[in-house]
Symmetry: C2
Subunit: 418 residues, 2 copies
């Protein structure tokens, strides 16, 4: 098969669908989302059979238990995907919103109207639920979507994509609105990366390697998601009981995600009071601690933290701890090692809180709360397509609004330019 | 010289400056802009001497008269650049604006605050005034800027950049806030294109070739500017006197710019009444007409329009004309050949106007006005860094706001995630 031609044909179909989708009413789009939910549950047998093929192949390939867990689908997980579709249907549709409108001295009335991006490409890894989530968010915002999932999930993804795509067509949405690249291999990705003129944006979702590959090789505009080397800084004037709960939450509530804390910074004045008790609780929770020399003098027996540790997103029950002399030293550490994702301070001092909020450059900056809230649902967006770690277009959790662009609509009565 | 090392050193300096600039007050930034204006005028002799070198080299290289005109600086043009700086100083500063803020059920208060992008790279061609304009807009928005102008203007750009950079430093802005690549040759551009981690965005300003090169080869996020194959559609229910003024304005007021009209679409019902008189006026104004068969039957003696003509941005006194049978045919033509820049309809029919506004996918869609208004000043933004023809981050004229991103600021009282 000519892979390039295969991908381009899909992209052309998506582009054609995008033009119709842009004009689709919210009612029709919601009906499609509900029909997709219904179809997923009615045809769960098909999905589970396809998933069993992927699981078997995964076991034979020797995938890790963690990867197999991500790959696995159950009736419950399919019901969750369907529920996700119903939640997206219930969200407000941003398309058509006139964000603002003003009148120029010459009488021209100019407005910014939200419109779909067009065709969104999503390149993702093992979890088959991304197929449903991404399709739902794109469809709700009037975008066509070209999906390329991981080869481990190819059977599951193909079954899911065919079912939801057919359900969407049956309520009147165009063929091509939701499409999956149904072949495996790197070549299809390479073609997608350079499909300018067909794809309006690419969103990679997955590990650091995937994201790096996409960013470095795409000529299509990319929204970078993912990497989070996040910090909590416990200030000299922190409420230490509050700090302990925030630190434990930020590290252990779900350590494998990008908004989990990786390094704890503690002001020297409170280190002796704060660290030993905290270390005991963290150790009980299975967290491996790595400390700077001062930390190690206060918490005997833990490993030294290396330069690499400060720069590492562990995504695991590992925590690096550093005692700092001042807010400035904490800010400097975050500037040097942070990835501009989520950063938190625990302090009771108004001026310290204000400086931290102003001076830390990150997608989300917290005062007295856990970094774990950087998430579309937690922010109140209802759903998210990912968390942007770049500064263009979208930063932080991306909800439906971030899947739209604007166009200027201009009403005149014959105005010409002098 | 090691070009890569040279560019990276500049980028590092810019990054350091960006951190300080992000915290600079509007007062300080405005003082710098005014000092830059003052310095340009006080040291105009230096600039004119450097420009004379560029002009001489340009003549020897056989640059066209048009290019030499763009390159030329005069006392008047320097005064205009200084005036531009004063205008940017007078604009409101978007940095620090909290776009919105809301409170979650758990009490977390979440706000979106406008912050600078960081380091902006601008790659541009002949006009030395871009050096001043781009530096001013970036500085006002708290961004450091790394400029790379065309080799033809290297002496002019170097003189200008040194003067404004020194003026900015003298009022307390960091070294590195405004920097120019002072060497010529493609290699520096190639390095800039892949400076992820140093540059937050690249904005190419210039011809189609430059923009294509940047889009295809950059791994740094790019904002694409420029190409405009714009249409005016004169509907069956148009006010034909209004249509004639709009068409003449859109084609002839400044034909070399991206928002000028390149193809005129006319509904068959009014073509016989509209086209002959219009053609006469356009011909008198020096416009070369190229028509479809129906147009040629109504306006004898003009060249046939080819498939290529429909797809061409002439940037010149050339107009392609096509008679269409319906709004749908006009929409289809625009969809096929347009570049999603600026599109206009002339009509007195409410429903036709509404369909055109909804269905045309372009940065700016006009009803009863000239396409020539797609411009930062005309839209009321006060100044522009370019006109984005992509959908991510910015679309249409980019003012100060488009040179910022947001960060989420989150106020808590110890909230942790369940």
């Amino acid at each position: 098969m000519d892979v390039r031609q295969y991908v381009v044909e899909k992209a052309k179909l998506a582009q054609k669908a995008a033009r119709q989708l842009a004009a689709a009413s919210t009612d029709v789009k919601n009906a499609a989302l509900l029909a997709m939910a219904e179809a997923l549950q009615q045809r769960s047998d098909e999905i589970l059979r396809a998933n069993a093929q992927d699981m078997e192949a995964g076991r034979q390939k020797g995938l890790s238990q963690a990867l197999l867990d991500r790959l696995l689908l159950t009736e419950k997980r399919i019901a969750d995907m369907a529920e996700g579709l119903r939640q997206v249907a219930a969200l407000p549709d941003p398309v058509g919103e006139v964000v603002k409108m003003w009148t120029r001295p010459n009488g021209l009335q100019i407005g910014q109207m939200r419109v779909p991006l067009g065709v969104v490409g999503i390149i993702y890894e093992a979890r088959p639920n991304v197929t449903v989530d991404a399709a739902a968010l794109c469809l709700k915002t009037g975008n066509a979507v070209l999906l390329r999932g991981g080869s481990e999930a190819i059977h599951s993804n193909t079954a899911i994509a065919r079912i939801i795509s057919r359900a969407a067509r049956e309520v009147g949405l165009p063929e091509g609105a939701i499409q999956l690249i149904e072949i495996t291999g790197r070549e299809a990705v390479n073609v997608m990366l350079r499909l300018n003129g067909y794809l309006d944006v690419l969103i990679p979702r997955g590990g650091a390697g995937l994201i790096r590959t996409v960013v470095e090789n795409a000529s299509v505009p990319v929204i970078e998601t993912g990497v989070g080397n996040c910090h909590v800084y416990v200030d000299a004037e922190a409420d230490l009981a509050m700090a302990e709960e925030i630190v434990i939450n930020a590290k252990t509530q779900r350590p494998a995600v990008c908004n989990a804390m990786e390094t704890l910074l503690v002001h020297r004045e409170v280190a002796a009071e704060f660290l030993p008790g905290l270390a005991e609780r963290l150790t009980e929770l299975g967290v491996e601690l790595r400390g700077c020399p001062v930390t190690r003098s206060l918490v005997p027996g833990i490993q030294p933290a290396t330069e690499d540790d400060w720069a590492t997103e562990f995504l695991d029950l590992i925590l690096a701890i550093r005692v700092v002399d001042s807010l400035d030293e904490a800010l400097e550490h975050i500037y040097l090692y942070g990835t501009k994702h989520s950063e938190a301070i625990v302090t009771s001092n108004y001026f310290t809180a204000r400086r931290f909020l102003q001076e830390v450059d990150a997608a989300a900056v917290y005062v007295n709360a856990s970094t774990r809230f950087t998430d579309g649902f937690q922010f109140g967006f209802g759903a998210e397509i990912g968390i942007s770690t770049q500064k263009l277009h979208a930063r932080g959790p991306m909800g439906l609004t971030e899947l739209t662009t604007i166009k200027y609509i201009v009403y005149g009565e014959g105005q010409i330019r002098e």
